[in-house]
Symmetry: C2
Subunit: 336 residues, 2 copies
């Protein structure tokens, strides 16, 4: 079985009516729920040239409309925060949602975020690992004290826990190979990058499985990725309508410096054109094309949970609803 989730774009233009866009997102999630989508995912960035909606409040807002869907902060920039905050904020979301949290974490890459939060970029991986170790202890032990390189927890009695025991699944985002090894070491599910070529994803999935085996940790049943998807009733419409959104988004990632995070074979995405990009990085097409593509990523890489970016900056609400309907009626049944 291949699972499909919806990733909500929460980057809005400077002059957009954000409250209206959020109302639309609530409707999109309710519709995805009714079609049997598996998860709803919201990303995190700070200090952007866009109007931005933060993931924890939005996912909490969506508890009422999201049925059995898993709620996925995708990803939370763990190095920026104190682990006591993250442990209790995320435990709350897990409790509020009846145990539906997927704990998506990553190191982040934007310079403005590291500088504003006073975090050295070079420390981001070590901070993530130390923070996660503390969070797991706060979630599972009655008395905790900790002295680490970055954080110190005094001896405390602590009882705030997620509903899922011992803790929600930990999805670790990875762009570079170092991130893949980290995901194998400290995570439960590898959460792959949307801009990498399928060849890169295949190598990273193999690296993940090999590292798990070396560590003696079980290889998980689930493997996930973000994936940009534009689906329309026919191929010609998909290509014509999808192209400008995709090109705009690629430029944004390039400005944010995401390319330098990826292995060389996948780092050229800003320079590549739409046609190259469509080959093995994004899914743009009619329902049959989308079914083939999801199966290809499953067969070649092992990915079986796709968090689909359906609502790109500037897209109309009806286009997102059309994508949800087409995925729900024409694609999901073929993937079960």
């Amino acid at each position: 079985m291949i699972r499909i989730g919806i990733f909500l774009n929460t980057n809005y233009g400077a002059d957009e009516d954000v409250a209206a866009r959020v109302r639309e997102a609530v409707q999109q999630v309710a519709m995805a729920r009714d079609y049997g989508f598996s998860s709803v995912c919201v990303g995190q960035h700070f200090l952007t040239e866009y109007q931005k909606i933060q993931p924890i409040p939005l996912l909490s807002r969506l508890v009422a409309e999201s049925g059995d869907m898993r709620l996925l902060p995708g990803i939370m920039l763990l190095p920026l925060f104190n682990p006591a905050y993250v442990a209790e904020e995320l435990a709350t979301l897990d409790v509020l949602s009846g145990g539906r949290l997927l704990f998506g974490i990553g190191v982040g890459y934007r310079d403005a975020e590291f500088e504003a939060f006073g975090v050295r970029r070079a420390d981001r991986g070590a901070r993530l690992e130390e923070s996660l170790a503390i969070i797991k202890r706060l979630w599972t032990e009655d008395e905790v004290s900790f002295e680490g390189r970055f954080f110190r927890i005094p001896k405390v009695q602590v009882r705030t826990r997620p509903l899922q025991r011992p803790h929600p699944p930990i999805w670790v985002a990875a762009q570079a190979d170092a991130g893949v090894r980290r995901a194998a070491r400290v995570g439960d599910v590898l959460f792959l990058n949307p801009q990498a070529r399928i060849a890169t994803l295949r190598e990273q999935a193999q690296l993940f499985r090999r590292t798990r085996e070396e560590l003696g940790r079980p290889v998980p049943d689930e493997m996930a990725c973000h994936k940009e998807v534009f689906i329309a009733p026919d191929m010609e419409t998909a290509l014509r309508e999808g192209r400008p959104f995709l090109e705009g988004k690629l430029k944004m990632y390039a400005r944010w410096g995401q390319a330098r995070e990826l292995p060389p074979a996948s780092a050229d995405f800003a320079a590549d054109g739409f046609d190259d990009y469509r080959q093995d990085r994004v899914i743009v097409g009619d329902p049959e094309h989308c079914i083939r593509e999801f199966r290809r990523y499953r067969d070649e890489v092992g990915i079986n949970h796709f968090s689909c970016v359906l609502n790109w900056p500037g897209m109309q609400h009806w286009q997102v609803l059309r994508s949800i309907q087409l995925l729900g009626e024409r694609v999901l049944p073929a993937l079960r």
Copy 2:
């Protein structure tokens, strides 16, 4: 007019079914909404011997059920956080709720929190003021850079804004006189302490107004406080049922060291008995008694928005619902 809000107790015992308690809280808020309560308030603490629910996710969860009620994190422990995080997380809650956020902030007082978040207790007031200054700039300026004593923001273009312009009302909690002066200096509304005697509140309200006048800042129409309220159909039931809950809660505050925050005339609360406490710190009684007490605080202190703590640790759901009904049907109409 006197406004009544509901403060949700989110301290749960180590073995309580927190998910069930949260479902009850949602029902309580929906009922308070239907009776015309003005606000819903959730407090913040970390690393407690209780199971704890954090305010931002819970208030976000309650957006759907809270109608026109204002949403009040009461209070957020501002010195513990990076201002870029607070600015965007709270802007999100304001957008999600259609502009219903009251931005409740305070310095905090629990040692475990300061230690875990790496904040010197002596810096808490200065950190709050610096953080708030940055947050206001992030909420109102298109390009921000900041070099302060505690925080540094690199030059960034930033567009994430609350829906309320220029920003949501800033409620500043105060326990000691220094906090009252700070509230006058940087806040919009003074948010008074629930454990202070009415004589202390009267002096602090006067200090607030005097400081505003000295600063040439307008004296706001609204003044608020937390207030522990136990209401029952008759006085005898109120006293008999209310006493054990109140005594338990006082002991918790005493353990947490809250007494040392208050002026000397009010700092003795842990030693005092229930009868003394009822005189001029909490409201326990039948509807007529509650009406008289709310009016007394309004007339003697100037408080006209009460965030009422109705659900104390260990209380039954039906007792909270009874309090909401009695306040809604018997008390609120007399206060309009």
